[in-house]
Symmetry: none
DNA sequence: GCCGGGCGTCAGGATCCCGTCAAGACCACC
DNA sequence: GGTGGTCTTGACGGGATCCTGACGCCCGGC
């Protein structure tokens, strides 16, 4: 179930949205002004924010600006103002969609579904867990077998880029651009060096990676479900009876 | 620079969009009906598709359905019909945004920016499934009977080119140009070698392909619905009573 | 029956790519 | 000014990948 944070100063609309969204299977949290919204967003970890622009204390754009540095989920703006300049401003400020009041509830629900469809898939998006290590994206913390591990800034940037989309192949150009910037797209050396460091710190056996996989010529892939241990790891397990 | 595919049957609107989008820094490709749209989407590799729902040959929803199995980028729907049910239908069919005509150009550009900001679809969103193997174009992952299979860059480039238009015959020149570049249009050798490798990795019986089919003298075709198994595969099935 | 074009297969060698290591540069903090 | 940590950069060996040519098969035309 997905959690949505509804930010609106109109009690009636809040109530209507709460009822409808709950009926649609959402877990609903509400806020009536900008400060509360920012606090609730941090506290309740919503998957999506439904944000009214006309708030009593803060301008909607300010709320967006306060949200965007750390909130990675989608933000759908709800506003009575239908001017094109308002829309462009909010969308360029980081909003993912813009719906004008009065709005049709079925359409709003559909747009929420679209926003969630592509927002980070897992509800517990801040934590990625494998059998061997855990990555907490919000706290910037990595633990291996429960023990915290120190990562350098570059290592962290690289790891979070990979872990953000489990199972997906991330191209080397994509990684280099995200971590070092567009000017370094050819320095595949960096990737090799830092992937090796990450594997030394995270993998059970750095020489035979099971989670941080190489796709030769294309890029790297973080796999949640580990590959089977390398055969050379013949630690006399009783199951290896054959041969 | 991003490439956008504009699909609309109105020549005037196409022209206006082409000029405005080009001025906004886009590389513009156009199509005037659904069939052309699907072909262009497969051939031109757009980053985003701007799709009018009222097309002469196909319903817009059909174009969406033809696009979504493999197209990993965002699709923004443009429509004169503003009914809520139309919007919900298109959004749930895989569209990323829905703009009603007449529209404000600045807003449309902002929505295109938003769509592109989010980048490609999540793994699992865009996948081509057959009875025997699955191709996840967003994750760049192929599984045969659920087991991940590793493809080399060239193999992947070739396979994705074929899989992008299921059922359609893709000319050898087209394939060679897409994978190796315009200078290699005569090297049909490459196709034979790499098709064989793909068949070895994907087909149940590489000697009698059922999914990656050869059209002698023309090119190759990916078929979702497999051909019946080859008769020589008489593995004692009860139905193979004869002979 | 003969012939030629197109296709599938195979194996070798050249090339590219990756993992690894180590040394130097840079920076922040003490 | 010293020190520890981090980031860059280069070089090297091993392995995977790509290109290439040769061969045999099938099929349609003559």
């Amino acid at each position: 179930m997905s959690r949505v944070l509804v930010v609106d100063d109109d009690p009636q609309l809040r109530r209507a949205l709460r009822i409808t969204l709950r009926a649609a299977g959402f877990d609903v949290v509400t806020a009536e002004d900008g400060r509360t919204a920012l606090a609730e967003a941090a506290a309740a970890h919503p998957d999506v924010v439904l944000l009214d622009l006309g708030l009593p204390d803060l301008d909607g754009t300010e709320v967006l600006a306060g949200l965007r540095p750390w909130f990675t989920g989608p933000v759908v703006v709800l506003s009575a103002r239908g001017d094109s300049s308002d829309k462009v401003g909010a969308l360029d400020a980081g909003a993912d969609d813009y719906v004008t009041k009065p709005f049709d509830m079925a359409e709003l629900l559909a747009r929420l579904r679209v926003a969630l469809r592509r927002g980070t898939a897992e509800p517990g998006q801040a934590r990625v867990v494998t059998d061997h290590f855990t990555v907490d994206l919000a706290a910037k913390q990595v633990t291996v077998d429960g023990v915290p591990v120190r990562l350098t800034p570059t290592e962290w940037a690289l790891l979070s880029e990979l872990v953000r989309s489990p199972g997906r192949l991330v191209g080397q150009r994509e990684l280099l651009q995200a971590v070092w910037g567009p000017a370094y797209e050819r320095e595949t050396n960096y990737l090799r060096v830092y992937l090796a460091q990450l594997r030394r710190k995270l993998e059970p056996d750095a020489a035979h990676p099971r989670y941080l996989l190489t796709e030769p010529g294309m890029g790297y892939r973080f796999s949640k479900d580990p590959l089977p241990p390398h055969p050379s790891q013949a630690q006399g397990g009783p199951l290896e009876g054959g041969r």
